[in-house]
Symmetry: D3
Subunit: 311 residues, 6 copies
């Protein structure tokens, strides 16, 4: 088994029980979320191990996060309860005003999660892992969180990074400069991104062109294309794996499902093509439910899906 350690903010998500503007939604469903936590569980579902370095508040939602992740098999020993702040949360508005697109209303400014700092990154803990992962969100939430990522990456054996730019958290300029600094400094082994993000960081949104440029910074680059599927650059060639059309409930988290599954399967020894084909299944199932983690499939379940599709 391979162990991944992810750094990021874990949040409590309140997903609208119905489609429409939040003002008209009366009921909300609670889920645990956060890009790196999603990666982590997708990673575990393929039979590997994962731990998270993060902070939560000393409140019901903080303990909720720890209990849920521990239940899902995550090593929570790196999650610190920060008595001086609160657990970040957000609300999900679905299919309004754009069908099958979700938007977020965050309550995370100054949260415990954003107080993640280099002191939370234990050298021994990082060295116990085979691979360290983080995302643009963690770079964006605070300077100390960003520094924690840089420290962890500097200690890591293998590095994975998902650009995950959220323009509510920082400006495009800030996103570009911080992410490019990280790519230049570490040339992470795995880079996961999408056309909107690559437009921001390298000025190119065409998937194939962007992949080629990004291959200068990373050995294996995954380009998420939403419902259309995904591409992966590796060893000088690009492989495209198409998506599946399903009834969409909430698209949030689909990219994390893809990224976490891909990393885990590749590190288990799958080739990039097979790893990508399988990962698409994880992101496909992910969009059929509210919540980002409950529908993540195991390797065996992915194979059941693929077998059915071949019929």
């Amino acid at each position: 088994m391979v162990k991944l350690i992810a750094l990021g903010e874990i949040l409590v998500q309140f997903n609208a029980l119905a489609v429409g503007p939040l003002r008209h939604i009366n009921y909300f469903e609670k889920h645990i979320a956060g890009s790196e936590a999603n990666y982590c569980i997708a990673f575990i579902k393929q039979g590997n191990e994962c731990g998270i370095i993060a902070r939560v508040g000393d409140d019901e939602f903080g303990y909720n996060i720890i209990e849920w992740l521990r239940g899902q098999g995550v090593d929570v020993s790196g999650i610190k309860v920060d008595p001086e702040s609160f657990t970040g949360i957000y609300f999900v508005q679905r299919s309004h005003p754009v069908p099958n697109r979700s938007s977020m209303l965050y309550f995370r400014k100054g949260s415990a999660g954003s107080r993640l700092s280099p002191e939370d990154v234990s050298e021994n803990y990082i060295k116990s892992a085979d691979i360290v992962h983080s995302s643009g969100i963690t770079l964006a939430i605070s300077d100390t969180a960003r520094d924690a990522v840089f420290r962890a990456f500097s200690l890591a054996k293998i590095r994975s990074f998902d650009t995950n730019i959220r323009l509510r958290l920082w400006s495009a300029e800030k996103a570009k400069s911080e992410i490019m600094r990280l790519l230049n400094e570490f040339k992470p082994d795995f880079l996961i991104t999408d056309p909107d993000d690559s437009k921001i960081i390298i000025g190119e949104s065409d998937p194939e062109k962007a992949l080629k440029i990004l291959s200068n910074y990373s050995r294996i680059v995954v380009m998420k294309l939403g419902a259309r599927g995904a591409m992966v650059y590796s060893d000088g060639s690009i492989y495209f794996s198409p998506g599946y059309q399903v009834q969409v409930e909430d698209v949030i988290g689909a990219g994390d499902a893809l990224g976490g599954t891909f990393l885990s399967l590749y590190l288990k020894g799958f080739n990039v093509k097979k790893a990508l084909d399988y990962s698409i299944v994880a992101s496909t199932l992910n969009v059929m439910i509210r919540g980002d983690q409950e529908n993540l499939p195991s390797t065996k379940e992915i194979e059941e899906f693929l077998a059915e599709m071949k019929k």
Copy 2:
């Protein structure tokens, strides 16, 4: 800002929480509905003003209607509480026996709403509006309601009419004669209809042919085509705007969303083509939820939708 005054019955809708015949539905969700109220809110969402002339019963549902509409920004000063009758209601059965089609079970006979009468139409109030709107439903519910529409139209500066024929409320013959009488008498500036209704009133269901015939009665004629989109006749030419395919929850109210949005945007200065393109977005979002008013988009939200579609 432009002000529209609509005349019609506002009802409480009990929408089945699940698909299937009502006998097997255990839970119902309450919404405020009624064609003219739907028009009114779609109209307001584009930044204009709207008032409604109507009657409700002196019961919880009547006050529910007033409070909801007032909350949504409707001028409710023309809504009278009629102590001698009750607020009309209806139940919505969805996707049985026809997928993505809804059917209504009304409890509105003799309702306060149907007791609307010319005495409810204050000349000063009508004159405070730029445009007066009503529909075939209001003509159908009672003779006094019909007379109220005729009185309001006779006092109006600009007139808008949606044929909205409900064969449970009157016969095709009655519908034809009353609507044609109104069209002949007022030649409303705006006429909104669909192929089924034009088949009844002018014997023609082909959209383009019907539009040409109806252009004799109205300067601008909108032909709603359901999921396929809509057409508009204006100045001798016809423009078609296609619909969008989305997951349907309840189609009721989609036509009102389209009509109300179109009127409001056109009166704000949009040309008919742009107004129609935008209106289709409103009706598209409308079918994704139960309830007729909660998902109506603002102009800015419509533009967000259109921008996403162009990607």
Copy 3:
């Protein structure tokens, strides 16, 4: 087994899912109700038989009523589908403005149920029964319904009557005159009433005094006292059985539970005291749920309750 035939209107009940004024209730739960139907099922639960003479509309709610009652073991051969009217319905508002009291908003005027008429009362069908039951509600809903009750009573072997005065359906004067006419004409074997109703019909609300007066009209008189319990007059003496204190969800139907259970057990051979003690259990359980029929206990379940109380 003994067979009871009841005459009355069966309605669909929409019970508020939460406490408070209906305007603020978003979800409603559907149940089948109606005093005589409640009696009928309470009667069957004690191991006897019951049929209902009634009309429902040719709509989903009408078939809902027939299917539900047939499922519960009611003989529905006397329920006519009336194609010319609709099935009556009502909404239940709970604990507002009075805690643990419910109020009804009816949509039953002109309903199929109110069109019950003497022609619906087949002589053979009535003669197949051991006992015929009806209530003040049936006298109130229409003249033809009242005449149907009189016809059925004139053909019956044993008669039972529950005063059940609903002042939204008729005036106190009308209630008094019609009910006294029935009592005088038939001197029913069983009379079920409460202090409010006896105040109206005989001007006496004191339970014991009222029972004595009413014993001039009926051999066995049951006085329902709500949460306090009930009394029964029989053979010159009065027996009081106290109520039980439980968490109240909806009190509607508790009196019918008591009456129907009492009749059934008495006719099975229980003495009036034991029949009353058992009946109180049925009305106690009834108030713990929304809906009037789902929590009605069998004789064996009543005994389980009583055994527990003795512990």
Copy 4:
């Protein structure tokens, strides 16, 4: 009217309220199910009669089954309450790991339903029916249940059989040998199957080829093809009727809807083509809801669907 008698196990179904693995589902919705019960209600919906021979446990779920089926118009006189066992149940997991496919978790081993035996098959009762139906599930659940089917078929005038192989109940080898024994012994008048099942019993999954082979065992053979539609073999020729694309909630029971509707309409005098076209509508509506019976259409409702599709 024609009467069908079906033999099989009736179960209580707990359908996941949301999509995903059962471990993450918090709420479940109860329905009555079981292939033969589904057939029976589809049969009744077309205006014919149906009775079921089955056993249920002496528990709340057993009485639930009897009351529900009686309500739906099923003759339940052949359903025995078996005091020595329990009512079988199962859980439905939806769209995980395969979108729009459901999987079952049974609690039926040793259930009352599986204790069905030849002694439950009354000769007089079978002779009161025009046609007897059962399925591979009933052959699979126990030897006594299988013997009951053989006894009933030996007494029947007309026979119908649905292969319905569930590999969680028996092996493919056992399924093949038992079903072929039945086909050889009785050459049922109607045989309903699908490509997976025919692969098992005759080694052929190509629909047309399989139909030709199976026509040696049955006069009329229906081949269910899921969302693609269905085929029927009759009198040497094959007719294909395509399916309709709708929003899928739960596909379980669609085949029973098709089979039961087909049998009923054919026996009412429809030709095989028309009967198949209509039956596809029943299976189409069936997949739009959770539960197998609530959305089954009447003949008139099927015609309403077909009329709408022709528009």
Copy 5:
């Protein structure tokens, strides 16, 4: 009619759908809340007028607040949309760890509501009111909000103040000093408090003793005693009105219900005793639901309650 203007923060409340620690609650129900908004609606329900001076964020929850309050009849012209901050929210945990007590988890630090400032207090607007009301919460949320209250009080004709100390918002010392400063400076006409709060501000928790001390600062002092009822000091004497025992859903907002109803009825001309008796009914009904405003009774509904209690 009398007009009250209240200053305070309006919040969106997410009330746990079930009892227990928030970590185990999966569903939340949205309500509009905030002490002064609760006062305002209780005030309106007695037939008077109310406006609120407040800030909300430029987000869905902000518009939700405005639409809801406008619907309820509140004058929202003094509510400013602050584009630089967000609408405050909170979660309600019920009956854990103390039965029938609720606790709050706030997300309001730096909220738009807390940015209320003296510049939001228009002299003309205040002068249009008969009475100005605020609470300790508004003093606590920020210095600018406190200054806004002082400014409004300095402009007011009649003043009302509810101590409402929330120790999560400020320390007991700060609460004491700020509230005493306000009491000393303005000697508000109405003071509403409870034993815990008077313990903090005057060191006395005995209701009668506290009332006497507080009568030095205010002409009419109301002492809320929770389920036990309430007392009022006026003209040298103290009147006690006992509470009613009901099934508790959520006690939050009960004190506001009492205070707002009392003020409104007293200003309508009720004497303090009658006003208090009526107000207790409002707080009693309030605890029977989740949400602080939906169950507030009108004067007529209060009388219906009292009439029933006298039976």
Copy 6:
């Protein structure tokens, strides 16, 4: 910290969402339950450690149990996934026919949990614990499970036993003989029981008398008295701690809450009186929710409850 190891069957509970007979319940809520698991979590909540020795099936419900318990902090290393059987489940019917009493419908015969056997009891694992606990349920479910308990007790340092007799699982005679054999053989340090159980095992249901007799078998004996409270025998004297009256949702699991909390606090050094007073709070909170584990309080929360009661 002290570590307890418990042996028993962990089940999935489906709790009726409403009060009444299961046949009329449409929705069920899933919880993880089982007496020993309840003990374990109550134990952990007081700051100690707990592991469970048990078997679950290789199905979604089995993994559900493991994930939930791991999340709650239970050491799940002793829980074996048994591929040859299924996870046991049960349904809870509430308040019918006895208010505030629940009854269970089990599907656990032959379950993985009942296949617990001595080979599952690792000597090293037991020796890692300070105390071993089990109950009459585990003795009842199978001979191998009983043998596992005897083996674990023979290896344990300290022993705790809850009689927990479920007459649906074994006869009173069997219960008596097996439990007395265990008491005689091990004289467990802690014995938890109630009057019904002690009536069965020692023929005495009077709490005080029973405690005295049972003190011959165990040093500390806890007598659960339901809503009335509990008693504890220790060192020759009996202490009674009264219960609290609260709104009851489901009483199942209250005894386990009491027992687990008592053990944990006593082992932390509380004296028996204080430990009992605190434990009663845990059982009080437990009955306010559906589910047996979600409302269990920490020591600090118990103290918050007690502080409030003293007010």
